[in-house]
């Protein structure tokens, strides 16, 4: 039962032993939205994204992606999402090009669409000159760009990006943001991302959710949040809300 609601999360809880990472988290994302999860270290952002990416299972509550339950219909979910982990490596002994081809082969329906995806990936990564080199010769930021490129090039319905631009230089971070914007506008992509870069969240996201100790403590479009808290920018909102909560 496909649904036009991209993400539906209700009363999600998750513990690692004694640590309660999520404590009844709920939020929704509409199709075509860019939704940003912000919050202090250890708030539960990565845990939330990992549950939605079918990597870990919640203890209780519900999580759906376009109507598919992430636990019961994990394979269906995997076919329509693309997940960029907080720390993503690539196979050291493959070249960047081989890596992109390997990744595209899971999504492409024929040879020409595979070729198209790979071309797109190369252009997103900005690694044109180095794409035939082995991944082990790449710098940290170059690896991040490769991982980002493979996440976006496969044209998922939902992209789940954990701190997408961390470690990127200004130019490439800007480039990636414009690619995300373009994909959302041209292809109706939905994006769920986490970030510590308030400027990025403010310029990129339609709506923001502020996660604190496993719960959403504030939610809304950046402009609205700033107005509500009479703050000059999101950073001030963040500090104010997490201090009270």
């Amino acid at each position: 039962m496909a649904s036009e609601q991209a993400v539906f999360v209700a009363k999600l809880t998750k513990s690692y032993g004694k640590i309660r990472a999520l404590r009844g988290l709920s939020f929704r994302i509409e199709k075509g939205e860019i939704y940003g999860l912000i919050g202090p270290n250890g708030a539960g952002k990565t845990t939330t994204l990992r549950i939605l990416a079918t990597l870990i299972q919640p203890d209780s509550g519900e999580a759906r992606v376009f109507g598919y339950d992430v636990v019961k219909n994990a394979n269906r979910v995997r076919a329509i999402i693309s997940y960029l982990p907080e720390e993503a490596g690539a196979y050291r002994n493959l070249s960047g090009l081989e890596y992109l081809k390997f990744m595209a082969s899971f999504y492409a329906t024929d040879e020409s669409s595979l070729q198209e995806m790979v071309e797109e990936g190369i252009s997103i990564s900005g690694l044109e000159g180095r794409i035939r080199d082995k991944v082990k010769t790449y710098s940290q930021g170059m690896k991040r760009r490769l991982a980002l490129a493979r996440t976006l090039m496969v044209q998922p319905k939902l992209a789940i990006l954990d701190e997408p631009t961390s470690g990127l230089d200004v130019i490439h971070a800007h480039h990636v943001r414009s690619v995300i914007k373009r994909y959302v506008e041209d292809r109706g992509l939905t994006v769920l991302l986490s970030s510590h870069n308030m400027l990025e969240v403010e310029t990129l996201c339609d709506r923001v959710g502020l996660l604190h100790k496993g719960n959403l403590v504030e939610e809304g479009p950046p402009e609205e949040l700033k107005r509500k808290h009479r703050a000059a920018n999101l950073e001030e909102v963040f500090v104010e809300v997490t201090a009270i909560a």
Partner: protein, 429 residues
Amino acid sequence: MPKVLAPLLKKEILDLLRDPKILIGMIVLPAVLYPVMGAAMRASMTAAGRAALQLPVAVLDLDRSFESEIIVSSLSESGEVITLEVEPDKALDKALEMEAGALVVIPEGFGECLRAGKRSPIEIHVFFESGGFSTQMFAGRLESAIESASKIISAYLVSLTSNVDPEVILNPLELDYSSVFRGEVLDVPPQALAGALMGQMTTTPIVAMLVLMFAMQIAATSVAVEKEERTLETLLTLPASRRNILLAKLVGSAFVASLGSVGVMAGLWYYLKMMNVAFESQPFEGLVTISSKDLALLAVALMAANMLALTLAIILAVFAENVRSAQALVGNLYILIFIPAFMLMFADIETLPVAAKYVLIAVPFTHLALATQHITWGEYTMYAVNVLYLFVWSAASMLLADRIFSSEKILTARIRWGWKRRTRGNEIK
């Protein structure tokens, strides 16, 4: 074959084969190392053998009788002989000075003593100057020369007192050995057959152990490297079923491991050939020929054990954080493979103490060793039981691996080593 299996498999094989640790360390080096070792040993042994032949024997013949002549001529036939003409108490120094390998002193009255029907003394001093292999070969050469002299003297002494052919007295039995093996009468001396069987029953398990060890190391690496290089999370969110991901790892590492095993076996074969040449021994190959049917059965047993080993290695590797600790963890499994193989190499399982027997029988890898024995003896029903047991274990461990792969355990499972307390609170990933 599902569409996603091909790219997964290709990636496994490419990434493993291009890993220098695996390509050089596990495939190229062993394949080159054994032949080089064999060639080196052959060269040094040939040199030692030549040196042993060139070493002269010093002889001080104080008797100069017909009997002592037999000894001297027998020694000359086996190599150079220096005849000393000095006082007995100077002989040793003289022999050393002339760089002889040994000194043989035949005392006065040697021949007379024999003819009187008594054993006669003879002194043989072997000099350990350079030591090592050539001394050993020299001593062997000396002993056989003395031995043949002694035989000639025996025959001579017999001929003095009796009319019977000395050959008959010295060697009264005309031996006609044959070996009955698997119900067939083979025209082969039992010692030779026993040697050949022993060879087969020791080399097969050793080769099998090598194959399994390779496979396990590679399978463990293929899982652990995904954790170490942080590629696992991405892999697990791809639209490929977890079963296919597991399958690609199993098949990919089996393939790479088989390349490694072929390399090692080719190297080992060449090494053994070199050693045979060096020792100038006759290998009993072809004596007990393995039929192609037996070979196929052996392959099936090896495959069953290999499947189990691979799956166990993958399961263990899930609990490791990096390649190193995965390989260390998997190393513990070797015990399960080594102990049965070595225990059964020399002893029949029925002759072991009861407790040891049942413990061994419970260990699945014992059944690989048993299966090879049962093939050798043609006991095919027992072989089938062994292989079935291996397959049951393989299937069970595959089910377990499948469970682990489809749960979040594959990301979160950890085994900690040492006495370090579990750090609570802020463990991430």
